[in-house]
Symmetry: C2
């Protein structure tokens, strides 16, 4: 089954013809890594577990995945120490782009399909050629587009999730929407658990929340976008998105990891969808949470979401209640905001336990181009949601101005109260959950 | 934040009002498990990390997840041994069905949304009340419906994947389709890597493969269904499915783990879709492969796929190239075939390295109601695909008749050749991949 066609130098491949997948693979000590890497490349392209008469040289040349790197960690050269019982490898395979074309599902099937069930094998990265990415539209708005909608260019944005997550009537949520908007939030989104319920129809929310935004605008002169959650079966989601836009929604939200990332793509590519889209993290931990299985967080919450067209991606703040390694948070930020051919930059929106005492840490990492995702810190502020929002805006302004948040708190009572309630965060402190490294 | 409303006996809940999620959670030794379980239930229903004025008693009563079981494994009663550094818990939470309604994405967001990122937390099971499941249609055909289409009632079915996976023209694949059909396969599906490519348009495959099925039928009197892969962005998938049906497709195939399980649901519920649907396993390993993260295989490859309407689910044969514990294979089979209120039974289709010497093991487990998923063993048979198919049918007939496969091989040369090439499988032997337990 082994065939040298599959083993190539990366330099030997035609630029632009391959998507490069990087995996970590842990094996038993006596593995034949070339045989195993070939099995991966063949499984995900032309072959199977037996020789096939029609799997000709020509078919292989055109379709087989190319193993372009095999690195052992650590890099044994002469012998394997006796005490070693398992070995770890980084393997890179290039898959011809014509094998799957410009769609995300078949691309994922190819780079991490059946082999996702092959033991301790995790997809660490995906690198795409320019000509491939040019077939995708990506976000319609991105960082610059959303700034333009809001007319805010010189600071991080403040995005609020309505809390309690579930159970409010549209009248109730519109009231706290108004309070938060008066406090200066730039955008407000539904909780991911909320869509359409007997006590809260999404169209009623759109109507009442955009009215609340309008009322606040008349007083503050600041706009507030509303991202309504349209998560549902893809066809119903699209229908709900259209109706939400007719009703005046200024943003859409999708739980893209449960609807499917290509449903996000469908929504973002639709020319009738003329507002930014926010993608939410829920369920993503099921795919990235293991250090040995699944795929890295900066793919599922970063590059793939951006490729699929998310203008904003909510991910767990590494300083918040769902700890994430700081290094992973920075990988996600890079995946969302660095140059990615013609694809617009997406907003990183760290969320989950974010409060004013955490803003400086986030600002240190991302400067102006991120959205603060804050729910409880607005609606659970001891002085109410308006004060909660103000405290966050004050913390943002302090960070931008280079003023320590404690200093700013001397001027602003709502910020002082927030810092007293929730403290000032430090990097590396774990959150609400009793985490074992997965 | 702790509130006794969240801690209830299962017997205290109104039957039918809750979906019950069962998790395994590994924690550090000094955890306050009630606080942690409450954090989970609140995160996934009404609350967040701070007290909220609007999270009233009434809201909690209506919406909060109920922690109905906390079991420690092992069940310490008096003290924790000094050497213990981590503890493992089984936690059951009931979520009110009105929180999410009759759609899969928001249900998944609720039972395994944000908390999927909470460390060593894996979703082990989901139990649904009758009234909830009655809002889903499930498979249109199921086991009985597909039998009726084929007119075959008294044996396991033989389902073949075309190999090589990718690279054949429709003319080439139609020719080996014909050979396999002449050998007696009941159904043939595309490989999951194949959809529409410059060298093989799916509509050409539908036309040529159904013609091949017709030609074979005229000689054998046996029908062969063709499951064409329509995997794509959900809207394009639906459009392709419709065009495939117009062109005469007798089955549809979806890589539902990359398109999204609710896209499968959309397809299955569509009244215009009048053929059975096959769901493929690819990417599922990214969700079930870790023993501590994600969700169990019998959910993603079993209950959820069935709820979403898959008539057939391809999963890794525990005796094949992608090893799966035998016990997991049996959980998947139970999830697909046991009574599940009004939802039709789905076909378990173990695949991945399946050959004639493996049929007896599969038959022992499942008797008549499964599909043999065989690709390489048909198209890589030393005597060609027709002989490959015949050998598998002969092995199936031998198992049904209670004849050892070695005995049957004395009568059938193609079976003898297959057994010589690939042997007779035994339970518990590991497959092609060098597996470390994830």
């Amino acid at each position: 089954m082994y065939n040298p066609i599959a083993f190539r130098l990366p330099e030997a491949l035609e630029d632009g013809d391959y998507v490069i997948a990087t995996y970590i693979y842990q094996t038993n000590v006596n593995v034949d890594i070339h045989k195993l890497a070939y099995a991966l490349s063949e499984e995900q392209s032309s072959g199977t577990w037996v020789n096939l008469p029609l799997e000709t040289e020509e078919v292989l040349q055109r379709h087989i995945g190319r193993v372009i790197s095999i690195w052992e960690i650590p890099d044994y050269e002469t012998q394997i120490p006796k005490e070693v019982t398992e070995r770890a490898w980084v393997i890179q395979i290039g898959y011809p782009v014509h094998n799957f074309g410009a769609q995300i599902p078949l691309m994922l099937t190819t780079v991490h399909g059946n082999i996702a069930a092959a033991g301790r094998l995790k997809l660490l990265d995906l690198n795409f050629p320019k000509a491939y990415v040019e077939q995708f539209k990506g976000p319609k708005f991105g960082i610059e587009g959303v700034r333009k909608l809001l007319g805010v260019y010189d600071r991080p944005l403040l995005h609020n999730m309505i809390k309690p997550s579930i159970g409010l009537t549209p009248e109730q949520s519109a009231e706290i929407f108004y309070q938060a908007a008066m406090g200066g939030v730039d955008a407000i989104k539904d909780d991911e658990l909320v869509q359409s319920h007997p006590w809260s129809n999404y169209l009623d929310r759109v109507r009442l929340h955009t009215l609340a935004a309008q009322r606040a605008y008349e007083k503050t002169g600041e706009k507030t976008l509303y991202f309504v959650n349209v998560t549902d079966r893809p066809d119903r989601m699209l229908e709900k998105a259209r109706r939400a836009l007719e009703a005046g929604a200024t943003g859409l939200m999708v739980n893209y990891n449960t609807v499917g990332i290509s449903a996000l793509s469908m929504l973002a590519d639709d020319p009738e969808i003329t507002v930014p889209i926010l993608g939410h993290l829920d369920f993503s931990g099921a795919m990235y949470g293991s250090p040995w299985v699944g795929l890295s967080s900066h793919l599922v919450l970063g590059k793939l979401a951006r490729l699929a067209g998310a203008d904003i991606v909510v991910y767990p703040s590494s300083y918040g209640k769902f700890p994430l390694l700081d290094s992973k948070h920075l990988r996600i930020v890079t995946a969302l905001t660095d140059r990615f051919y013609q694809i617009k930059r997406s907003w990183p929106m760290p969320g989950g336990g974010v409060h004013p005492g955490m803003i400086q840490l986030l600002y240190n990492d991302m400067k102006n181009d991120f959205m603060v995702g804050a729910g409880g810190a607005v609606h659970g502020h001891p002085m109410g949601p308006k004060a909660g929002a103000r405290a966050l805006r004050e913390a943002i302004d302090a960070a931008v101005a280079g003023i320590p948040v404690e200093g700013a708190a001397e001027e602003y009572p709502e910020l002082e109260v927030a810092l007293k309630a929730w403290g000032i965060s430090k990097a590396g402190v774990k959150g609400r959950y009793d985490l074992m490294e997965a």
